[in-house]
């Protein structure tokens, strides 16, 4: 994909603040593309607490993370944002005085007037279990996600974990692996019951094995794994022969590539001013949990406010010299037209 996507704004992060930024920018005729590392919108609301209640969104006495996300998506629909999921923004470069070039790990390239970082706690990345020496095997024998199933064909695969990723990949890889072992710390799973049932059937039919325990060490040479040492739930240790291991322990937030974009950072947060929420680079803004300023509160409602003020400055950058008339959605026929309600 070498085609460059030209747009007004690239928003990094499809959490609540990134989504609401689409709304505030949209009212000012600023077109947006939204990039997120997850496979769906919502950010932390989707990944960490889709079913958990939030009590401090103004006028919504209680709302779940999933519901808040779907309401925001409905609210920004009139502005036709384009979403790019499963992409991590890897590079943001300033081109000359005006534009930015934004690149993702999936090969997307954007040219935009501004960049809005709404990346919350950073990018969600797979948790890497702190097994001694695991780094030496990463990408050769240890994988935290499956990019190409074929790479595991004919391998002796060990899958560790009890969530949906662990169970789904157990079922998907069993037919192509030479042998497959699922290792979990207990005989109970947080994964979908249907997948658990399938896994148990495969194990009973002798097509794979399911073992209880936790990995304590790895054996191998030159980055090639030969076995994982496991402490069983009875306390005894045993080895599981394998040349590929897939640990699935969920996701954690890491700042990620943001640190390499030439922005001033303070304790892994991006300092901004409180008038425009702009970073140390003109045209790059930071809103929501990822920014910091005196008095900052990591609340969704603060991110909404930040999005509104940010949009004012973006308008000025896009339309130099033009005066922006402040309008209310309640009374402005112009804004109502954009919202598709008049």
């Amino acid at each position: 994909m070498s085609d460059v996507i030209t747009t007004d704004a690239v928003i990094i992060g499809a959490g609540p603040c990134g989504l609401f930024a689409v709304f505030e920018l949209g009212l000012l005729d600023i077109r947006c593309h939204v990039v997120d590392i997850l496979d769906r919108p919502g950010g932390q609301c989707a990944e960490l607490y889709p079913e958990k209640p939030i009590y401090d969104i103004p006028a919504l006495p209680v709302v779940t993370g999933a519901e808040l996300t779907s309401r925001l998506l409905e609210q920004i629909k009139p502005f036709h944002p384009e979403f790019h999921y499963n992409h991590m923004v890897t590079a943001v470069k300033k081109l000359g005085d005006a534009d930015f070039e934004v690149e993702t790990d999936g090969g997307l390239k954007f040219r935009s007037k501004v960049v809005v970082i709404a990346a919350g706690g950073g990018s969600f990345q797979p948790k890497k279990p702190p097994i001694p020496g695991i780094e030496a095997y990463e990408n050769g024998s240890v994988f935290y996600s499956v990019k190409k199933m074929d790479a595991l064909r004919g391998k002796d695969v060990l899958i560790v974990g009890g969530g949906d990723s662990a169970l789904d990949w157990t079922i998907n890889l069993q037919p192509i692996a030479r042998s497959l072992t699922l290792l979990h710390r207990r005989d109970d799973f947080r994964a979908a019951p249907d997948s658990v049932k399938k896994m148990r059937e495969l194990a009973e039919a002798g097509k794979m094995s399911f073992k209880l325990g936790q990995v304590t060490g790895l054996k191998g040479d030159n980055g090639v794994l030969s076995a994982a040492t496991v402490k069983g739930n009875d306390g005894a240790s045993f080895d599981v022969a394998c040349n590929a291991m897939l640990p699935f322990f969920g996701l954690t937030m890491k700042l990620g590539p943001v640190a390499e974009w030439g922005l001033n950072l303070h304790e892994n947060l991006i300092p901004v001013d409180t008038e425009k929420f702009e970073t140390s680079v003109e045209g790059i803004f930071a809103i929501g949990d990822i920014n910091t300023y005196p008095g900052k509160l990591k609340l969704i409602l603060s991110g909404f406010h930040e999005a509104a003020l940010m949009a004012q400055k973006v308008f000025k950058l896009k339309n130099p010299g033009e005066r922006l008339m402040f309008q209310y959605t309640t009374s402005s026929s112009n804004l109502q037209k954009k919202l598709g309600v008049s």
């Binding site: 607490y49 706690g121 890497k128 702190p130 710390r185 304590t216 322990f249 969920g250």
Partner: protein, 106 residues
């Protein structure tokens, strides 16, 4: 007020005041105890506030709830005395509680 002691992997101890009603995780974060990451802020949704309860306190700290048991699947090196500190409420009965912080949450 309940005194809670956090023991780091290297043996360093830090004793802080816990307010009844707050969670052990919140108490740790408020006092900047290293190693309690608490990514999700206490929603029992991330397993990055994992602690080991010292043997004498296991019973008083109580049993894991089902949501916590599920979430511990995403913690590393789970032992019989593993708990998620966001799910333990500080109370006068826990005055003197001692918990170990794992070497790494992840």
């Amino acid at each position: 007020m309940a005194k809670i002691t956090f023991i780091q992997h290297n043996g360093t101890e830090q004793t802080v005041d816990g307010l009844p009603g707050m969670s052990v995780m919140e108490t740790a974060v408020k006092n900047q105890v290293p190693g309690i990451d608490a990514d999700c802020g206490g929603a029992c949704a991330c397993a990055t506030c994992h602690v080991y309860i010292e043997p004498d306190w296991v019973e008083k700290a109580g049993a894991r709830n089902p949501m916590e048991e599920d979430m511990l699947d995403f913690a590393f090196d789970v032992r019989d005395n593993s708990r998620l500190s966001c799910q333990i409420k500080v109370s006068d009965a826990l005055d003197g509680l001692r918990v170990k912080v794992p070497e790494k949450q992840f």
